[in-house]
């Protein structure tokens, strides 16, 4: 079993780094572009990775991340600076990815079924093939289950944090992640991983 520490933004305690960030945030809110760039640098990896995992496509993820930061820039003056910034940005990312996911056609990263057809079941799959199958299993999940399981199992948020980010109850999140884990297990078993 994995033990997870409660992050600072859930406890309300602020480290020195957090206090500095609050100042950067205040400058960005007042229209300082260089302060906003610091925010982008701080969160770009997290946002782009999350978008990529939720959308399954590098190009869509880049478009989504751009949109996330542009929305953040536009609505930063409405952000309540007494609240933690990260969940706000992560929620923005999930919402943008959901919007893009609704509009786009299904993206297939690799022809996973073709790989399976040509593979020897006794031969170990290459890491590239493994990656493609995991991504396919993830993309087959309904959007809400995918968001919950990615935030919990890949991004490492606790159930309570995921519930806050997604705006749902912990019970709902637990139900979503357990269903998603069972589906992933089934999908990987089917592909003999």
């Amino acid at each position: 079993m994995e033990l997870r520490a409660t992050p600072l933004w859930m406890t309300g305690v602020r480290s020195e780094e957090e206090r500095e960030f609050v100042q950067v945030l205040a400058r960005a809110i007042s229209g300082d572009v260089s302060a906003f760039e610091q925010i982008v640098i701080r969160y770009e990896r997290r946002v782009l990775n999350l978008a990529w995992r939720l959308l399954g496509s590098g190009e869509d993820a880049k478009d989504a991340s751009q949109e996330v930061f542009m929305r953040a820039f536009r609505f930063l003056h409405k952000f309540d600076s007494t609240r933690p910034f990260e969940p706000w940005l992560i929620r923005l990312t999930v919402n943008v990815c959901r919007d893009i996911g609704r509009k786009r056609t299904v993206t297939v990263l690799l022809d996973v079924d073709a790989i399976q057809a040509h593979s020897d079941p006794h031969m170990e799959l290459s890491s590239e093939e493994q990656r493609a199958m995991l991504q396919k299993a993830l993309q087959e999940l309904p959007q809400k289950e995918r968001a919950a399981v990615v935030l919990r199992d890949i991004e490492g948020f606790s159930t309570a944090e995921v519930a806050e980010i997604l705006g749902s109850s912990e019970a709902t999140v637990r139900s979503q992640i357990s269903t998603a884990r069972l589906k992933i297990r089934k999908a990987l078993k089917r592909r003999r991983l």
Binding site: E2, Q66, S178
Partner: protein, 190 residues
């Protein structure tokens, strides 16, 4: 699965998401149940693989590309945003000014009306006034509530409140040193 523990519970158990009491029950149950143990093993394996996605991360070049694109768009957007906020502020201020002007104009109009009333109203009446009786009526004086009469006066046209201006006719005789002025009031009396 015929156990009291559902697969959904086991899917939570493998990642420590099951409540403590339930997790202890599963701990006790697992050594005795092959089916549940198998599910837990499979789930642990699939979860380990699934979480390997964590290790895959975007490249530094992709991050730099994203940052450049974002900051370019921010540079374009910023003046629009600032102008947009000013427009809203100015529109708000203009609206307030229009409302204030409207209110002041209305108040001014009211004041003008109330001045007319003061001009037309009779001097402050006593509680009751005595009106002489008309011909054919009883010789006893009639008491009239003055308030009613005052209200009637307010709606009278302004011309009745002003004193009549006398008319003047100037007659020039043959002698330029003699001029006759004839003054008479507008009621016809001279």
């Amino acid at each position: 699965m015929n156990c009291k523990h559902s697969e959904k519970d086991l899917a939570l158990y493998v990642e420590g998401d099951l409540p403590e009491a339930k997790a202890k029950e599963v701990d006790v149950h697992l050594p005795a149940c092959t089916a549940c143990r198998q599910v837990v093993d499979e789930l642990s394996g699939s979860q380990a693989l699934f979480k390997s996605i964590r290790q895959e991360t975007v490249s530094v070049a992709e991050l730099a590309d994203l940052r450049v694109r974002v900051m370019e768009r921010v540079a374009v957007q910023r003046p629009k945003l600032l102008w947009g906020r000013w427009v809203y502020a100015l529109a708000g201020a203009a609206f307030v000014v229009v409302i204030m002007v409207g209110v002041l104009a209305r108040e001014g109009h009211r004041d003008e009306k109330s001045l007319n009333v003061v001009e037309l109203a009779p001097p402050p009446p006593s509680a009751q006034a005595v009106v002489p009786p008309a011909k054919g009526e009883s010789q006893n004086p009639v008491k009239v509530n003055v308030k009613h009469r005052a209200r009637k006066k307010v709606i009278q046209p302004k011309v009745y409140a002003e004193p009549p201006t006398p008319m003047m006719v100037k007659l020039q005789t043959d002698d330029p040193n003699i001029v006759i002025y004839w003054l008479f009031d507008q009621n016809g009396g001279s």
